[in-house]
């Protein structure tokens, strides 16, 4: 019998590429698919061309006032002139550099996962983003100390307010949510019971109801003379609501960690909090990054509900200008602008979460 001779490795076959091939495979793989492609393509074009004409080609971007606009085409001058109000609400114009600076800092704290920085630096920036930034940002925007002129929260508005609501809602809800999730899996019945009741209560009530309760009912229970900032009340409501959702997302991650991980950590002599912090949570949170991103994006959009308790977030600010008789019918432009802003941020968050997922991916399976 001949001795076995190992064959040399061969290169993998080249996958066939090319535009024509792609078209044939994806759009025209059979005559019926081809027909559907053509019909759908036709209708898309007949709808898209007028839209593009309205929004871009025929639209007016610069000019002076309503007279510069063309009937039947988008009038972006409206958005341009009211841009400051849409961004900052009634925040005094001279002081708007303060929120701008706060958000610039925020952007800096958000960027590091995209940079090839050493782990330790990246971690300290993340910790700053979770602790120093909210405090510093609040001082900058609210003022009242360090010689900064105080700006009442009733003057906060526009995109700035939307971002504040979402940011605080997320930053504050995440630790509360993690604590609730751990509590719900606790072996101590009292703690577990409290967490279950809390989560199920807040999850079962629509956010709009919570906001109403926070703005209308809460003051009834507070002692005479104690007033509680309206924005603060909304923030607390949003945070607790969001925390309940976050808790369930995190709990899903905790449950996905194999029992062996808990046991190995125990066998090493690590106490409960170290087991959670060093072994379980890093893995669980990594698993639920998409879920967290999901609730965060959904919260970001839900912040528009503060409109009903009289806070002027981006949508509220834009909406309040639409009835201005000086501008005839800029409804579409206004709402489109709001939609565009929301899309930019939500899409950004989505990409950001993907990026973080990749960053955390050390589970290289062979």
């Amino acid at each position: 019998m001949a001795t076995h001779q190992p064959l040399p490795n061969q290169p993998a076959p080249v996958t066939q590429r090319g535009v024509i091939r792609w078209l044939r495979a994806n759009l025209f793989s059979s005559w019926i698919n081809g027909l559907v492609t053509l019909v759908v393509g036709y209708y898309l074009l007949t709808m898209l061309i007028p839209l593009i004409d309205w929004a871009f080609i025929g639209a007016v971007f610069t000019g002076d006032g309503v007279d510069a606009c063309r009937p039947g085409k988008a009038c972006w001058i409206f958005v341009e002139e009211r841009f400051g109000f849409f961004m900052y609400g009634f925040y005094p114009e001279a002081l708007r550099w303060r929120p701008t600076l706060a958000f610039a800092l925020f952007a800096l704290a958000v960027v590091p996962p995209f940079l090839p920085l050493p782990g330790r630096l990246r971690r300290s920036v993340a910790i700053f983003g979770l602790t120093g930034l909210p405090v510093g940002g609040y001082i900058l925007i609210a003022g009242g100390v360090f010689g900064l002129e105080s700006v009442d929260t009733s003057q906060w508005g526009g995109l700035m307010l939307t971002l504040i609501l979402a940011y605080v809602g997320i930053i504050a809800a995440l630790p509360i949510g993690v604590a609730l999730a751990l509590g719900r899996r606790s072996e101590m019945p009292v703690i577990r019971g409290i967490c279950v009741i809390f989560i199920e209560f807040w999850r079962a009530v629509p956010l709009i109801t919570i906001l109403f309760m926070a703005s209308v009912m809460l003051p009834l229970f507070l002692p005479e003379g104690v007033t509680f900032d309206k924005l603060m009340r909304a923030l607390i409501g949003i945070t607790l609501f969001q925390a309940a959702y976050m808790a369930e997302v995190v709990r899903g991650g905790l449950q996905a960690i194999p029992k062996g991980q808990y046991e190995a950590a125990e066998a090493l002599g690590l106490g409960y909090w170290r087991r959670m912090r060093l072994i379980i949570l890093p893995q669980a949170l990594k698993i639920v990054v998409p879920g967290i991103a999901n609730t965060v994006i959904s919260l970001f959009k839900d912040t528009t509900l503060v409109l009903i308790i009289g806070l002027f977030d981006l949508l509220g600010a834009v909406k309040s200008t639409l009835s201005d008789p000086a501008w005839n019918n800029v409804m579409a432009e206004g709402y489109l602008f709001v939609a565009f802003c929301f899309w930019v941020f939500c899409f950004g968050m989505s990409r950001y979460s993907h990026r973080i997922e990749k960053q955390l991916d050390t589970d290289h399976r062979q």
């Binding site: 190995a264 106490g271 060093l278 955390l360 589970d363 062979q366």
Partner: protein, 267 residues
């Protein structure tokens, strides 16, 4: 005992390792009983282990082997009886449990390495967080043990990048980094491909010859013959027979043991 890799490996599974057992008892298990619901999984277990003694536990699946050794570091709580390890009684007192876990290392069938930490970081956890060893010192020690299990070059990789045999050796190094007095092994080679079993057994034999007190649940009878001071056969939650390997394999007293040996040694 110092050893140098190659010559030792060749002989490892044929020459019995000299016993290091002293007559100082380190584990005492008295009348240990445990139930899962109504199921009596451990029934009146009595076991005394000497310092440096190597014990192999075997028996059919479901006989309570894992449960027994998991009781020893309180991964499972027992309901009756007494477990004393290195002078500390194991009860619901968290302080005692943590004290005992510091002295007892455990290696699992499924490795249970932490996938989000590199091999080195896996090994650093216990020394740094439990023993409070300065990081620099802990790294030195971790590298020492990784060398001892013969994979120092994998220190910066993640568990998912290693083969099963390598992962299990890291798991052994991770447990050793605690500098435990006792090592528990729960079927450490059962999840491995045949080609990798030997590399793990070699490490375990080396560990045995260094005087570590070991309790191994395993069906590697070659290993039992080589290193065990005592082989324990369990069935139905009870210890049926406990004897030095020579007696255990050549003239078992209990018919139940004989049946079992016939079954596993047949092929």
């Amino acid at each position: 005992m110092e050893n140098n890799g190659t010559s030792f490996e060749a002989e490892a599974l044929t020459t019995p390792v000299e016993s290091a057992a002293s007559d100082e008892s380190i584990i005492q298990v008295n009348d240990l009983n445990k139930w899962f619901g109504d199921f009596h999984v451990l029934n009146s277990i009595n076991l005394d282990v000497q310092k440096g003694e190597r014990i192999v536990i075997c028996g059919p699946s479901g006989s309570g082997k894992s449960t027994l050794i998991r009781c020893l570091n309180h991964l499972e709580a027992h309901q009756r009886g007494q477990i004393v390890i290195d002078g500390v009684e194991l009860n619901e007192d968290v302080k005692n449990i943590e004290a005992i876990r510091r002295e007892v290392g455990m290696v699992f069938q499924q490795f249970n390495l932490f996938p989000h930490l590199s091999v080195l970081e896996n090994c650093l956890l216990a020394p740094v967080w439990v023993r409070k060893t300065p990081r620099r010192e802990a790294i030195e020690m971790a590298m020492h043990y990784l060398e001892r299990v013969r994979i120092p070059e994998q220190a910066d990789k993640y568990p998912g990048q290693l083969s099963g045999g390598q992962q299990q050796r890291v798991a052994i190094a991770r447990a050793l980094c605690m500098q435990p007095k006792i090592m528990l092994f729960d079927e450490p080679t059962s999840a491995l491909d045949p080609e990798m079993i030997k590399e793990v057994l070699d490490v375990m034999v080396e560990l045995a010859s260094s005087g570590m007190t070991m309790l191994c649940v395993t069906h590697e009878m070659g290993f039992a013959k080589t290193v065990a001071d005592r082989v324990i056969f369990m069935d139905g939650g009870q210890i049926v027979e406990a004897a030095p390997p020579r007696d255990f394999f050549t003239r078992p007293e209990q018919p139940r043991t004989r049946d079992f040996l016939e079954q596993i040694l047949q092929h």
